[in-house]
Symmetry: C2
Subunit: 386 residues, 2 copies
C-alpha cells in the first residue's frame, strides 16, 4: 500500500455474483422515456473525450446551436443541464428566484405541483392559479392572476405530461411583459414534437428533457434563458443557492471562457448532439407534422374502439394522449399485462388522474404509423379480456 | 395543428448542416474522464426501459448493492445521484446542512475550495483548515480544528484530484465521533482504485463519480449516507433547499415505495451497473493492487527520466500522479502537443498548481501496464523537443 495505514480486509458479503446485463426489449409508449433512435445509441457508446478537449468544445457549441434551432431561440444562454429535465426545471427557478419574490405557478397537472414545491424551496412567495387536470388556462384567468398577485415570475407548463393538455400560448408572453414578470415555460413533452417558438412567444426561460421528442435516453435537461432573465440573475443580491445549477458559473464553461465547472456528461452530450442533428435533418415542421398525423390516427383509432379521450381535441398534445379507463376495468392490471406479455409500456395516471386514465406517448423516434397500428391492435385484442 | 393558434414560420437560420458525429480516438490519461470499459459502452447503447419497469427496479437494487460492495458499506441510503460527481458532492451538503450549522472544510486542493463554496450557499458558518497543495492533514491538525470550531460537519477530500494526494484516514472517523460531528468524504478519485472502507473508517457521507476508477463515462454521482447522517436529515427544521438532490424524496423512489421522483437516467445506470459488476468480478483488492502496481511503475519510470513528482511517495494516489513541469518547459504546449499529435490527454495544474504540474491519471480500465509504457515512451521521445 502507498500509505502505512493498516487496512481492514475486504468484506465480500456485500457483493454477490452478478451476471452480465441483459435488458428486455420494450416498446416505450408511456410518458417517457421513449425508445431512442439507434443512431443516438451508437453515439452514446463512443469512447469519451475530455470535457476540455477542443473537439468537445466544438461539440458543445453544436449542441447549443441545435438546441437554439429546436426551440427557435437566439438565446445565448442555451445549454443542456447535466441532469434530467427536473434538474433543468429546478435550474430555471434556482437562478432567478430570490427569497421573497412572488412566483405565480399555473397548476393544471402534476408538473405544476412540482414547480410549486420547488419554488417554495427557493423561499419564494408562491401563488397559484389552478384549473382542472385536463383543461388549459384562458388568457383572462392568467391576466386576472397577474393583476392580483403582481408576480416577478410566472411558471407555466406548455405540455402537461400528466394530463395530455397542450396550453395555447398566444398572448401569454405579451401579458407577462405587460405585467413586468418573467415567463418560465415547461417544454418537457413538447420540444421536438409540438410547435414551439421561444422567442416569438416571449418566453423568458424554458427547460426540457432528452428522452421524449428528441429520441435520446434520459439524462440531460435542455435549458434556455433570455437577456431579461439574465438581467434578473445578474441583479441578485445573493449567490444562486445551488452550485451545480448556477448559470453564472455554467456560463463560464459554456461561454467563451471555457472555465472548468464540473466534468460534463460527455457521452450523453454525444447522444444529444446526434438526436438534435437528426431533428434538424428531418426539419422541425416535418417532425411536428409527423407527431400530429400519428397522434390523430391514434385518437381516431382509439375512439373507434369505443374509448374516450380525456382532453378535448383542440387542446390535445400530439406527443401524449390520455385515455379514460373504461368503467369496471382495472387499468393497472391491463398495463401490467401489456408490459409482461407484449413488451409494451403505457403509463398510468398521476395525481388527480391516478387510476382514471392511461397515458400513451408516441414521441420522437416512436411516433410512427406502425406503432399506432401496434397499439390499436393490442387494445383491440387485449382489452376485451379485462 | 391541434390548436387553432396561428403559428409563426420556422426560422431555419438557427440551424445549419451538421454532419454525423465522428469522435477522435483519445487515450484519456488526465484527471478524468478515463476511457470506459467497452462492455460498459455496450450497456450504455442498449434501448432504454421505463424508470418504473420491474426490470429497472431490480437493476436499481443491483446498482445499490454493487455500490455498497465498492464502498464497503452497509448503508441503506446508497445510490447514484442523477448528475455528475459534483452533484453528489452538493447532495451531501444540501441534505444535512441547515442555515447556521458550522461546517469545517479541509482545504488542501481545488476540491476543498469547491466544498467551501457549496457549503456557503447552504448558509453554513464555514470554517476551514488548510495545508499546502501536495500535503495531507495530520490527526493533530484535525483534532485542534474540531476542538476550536466545534463543527456539526467536517468535509474532507480523500483523493485530491488537483494535487494527487491520498489523505491517510486512520483515526479521523473516531475523532469526528469524539467531537460529535458528521464526516463527509470526497472519494471521487479513489472509488474503485484506492482502498476505501466507508463503514470501518466511520465515514458518515461520501460521494464519487462514474468516470474514474469505475471505467464508466461521466454522468452519475454515487452517494452514500449512514444512519447518523440520516438522523440529521430527519431532524431538519426546514425542507432540503434543493428538490433534485433531496434524499428524503429520492429515498421514496430508491427505497421500497418506488414513488416516482424524476425520470432516471436509465442508460447511464445500465453503464454503471456493468462498470460495478466488472469491478466485483475483478475483486476490490485486485483492482486496488493493479492500480498500485501500475502507478509505481509509472512513478519509477518518470523519475528515471529525471522528472520530479510533486507528492511524497507515502501520500501518493495510485490513480492520479502530479508531475512537476521542469523549469523552462511550457507545460501547456507539451500537453497540447501530446493531444494533437498523439491522441494522448494529460491534465494541467488547477488553482495553486496551475502551470506547475501535469496530472497523469491511470484509472479504472486505463490502469494497464501497456498504458504506463505508452506514457513513458511518449515522455521520453517528446519531452526533449520542448
Amino acid at each position: 500500500m502507498t500509505s502505512t495505514q493498516a487496512l481492514p480486509s475486504v468484506n465480500n458479503t456485500f457483493g454477490k455474483t452478478v451476471k452480465p446485463i441483459s435488458v428486455p426489449k420494450r416498446h416505450l409508449f408511456g410518458p417517457g422515456p421513449s425508445n431512442a433512435n439507434p443512431l443516438v445509441l451508437e453515439a452514446l457508446a463512443l469512447q469519451p473525450v475530455g470535457h476540455l478537449d477542443p473537439y468537445y468544445i466544438d461539440l458543445m457549441a453544436e449542441v447549443q446551436d441545435l438546441l437554439r434551432y429546436s426551440w427557435q431561440t437566439t438565446n445565448r444562454l442555451t445549454l443542456p443541464m447535466s441532469g434530467t429535465g427536473s434538474a433543468a426545471m429546478e435550474a430555471t427557478l434556482a437562478n432567478i428566484v430570490e427569497p421573497g419574490d412572488t412566483v405565480l405557478v399555473g397548476i393544471k397537472g402534476y408538473f405544476g405541483n412540482r414547480l410549486f414545491d420547488m419554488a417554495g424551496r427557493y423561499k419564494a412567495n408562491v401563488q397559484t392559479i389552478k384549473t382542472d387536470w385536463g383543461k388549459a388556462f384562458s388568457l383572462e384567468q392568467i391576466e386576472k392572476a397577474l393583476k392580483e398577485h403582481n408576480p416577478s415570475v410566472f411558471a407555466l407548463v406548455h405540455a402537461e405530461t400528466s394530463t395530455g393538455v397542450c396550453q395555447p400560448m398566444e398572448g401569454i408572453g405579451e401579458l407577462c411583459r405587460k405585467y413586468n414578470c418573467l415567463l418560465i415555460l415547461d417544454t418537457v413533452t413538447s420540444l421536438g414534437g409540438v410547435p414551439l417558438f421561444i422567442d416569438e412567444w416571449k418566453v423568458d426561460l424554458a427547460y426540457s428533457c432528452s428522452q421524449k421528442g428528441l429520441s435520446c435516453p434520459p439524462g440531460l435537461g435542455p435549458f434556455t434563458m433570455n437577456e431579461r432573465a439574465e438581467n434578473k440573475l445578474k441583479s441578485r443580491a445573493s449567490q444562486v443557492p445551488n452550485w451545480y445549477l448556477d448559470v453564472s458559473l455554467l456560463n463560464k464553461y459554456w461561454g467563451s471562457d471555457r472555465v472548468y465547472h464540473h466534468t460534463a456528461p460527455v457521452n450523453m452530450n454525444f447522444g444529444m448532439r446526434e438526436a438534435l442533428r437528426l431533428l434538424l435533418d428531418e426539419g422541425l415542421e416535418n417532425s411536428w407534422k409527423r407527431h400530429k398525423d400519428n397522434a390523430e390516427a391514434l385518437w381516431d383509432g382509439l375512439e373507434n374502439l369505443g374509448l374516450q379521450l380525456h382532453v378535448e381535441r383542440r387542446l390535445r398534445l400530439p406527443t401524449l394522449t390520455t385515455v379514460r379507463i373504461p368503467n369496471g376495468i382495472d387499468g393497472k392490471a391491463f398495463a401490467t399485462h401489456l408490459l409482461n406479455n407484449h413488451g409494451i409500456e403505457i403509463g398510468g395516471g398521476l395525481g388527480d388522474l391516478g387510476g382514471k386514465v392511461w397515458r400513451i406517448g408516441l414521441m420522437g423516434y416512436n411516433s410512427k404509423i406502425e406503432n399506432v397500428e401496434l397499439l390499436l391492435d393490442i387494445f383491440k385484442s387485449e382489452l376485451p379480456k379485462f
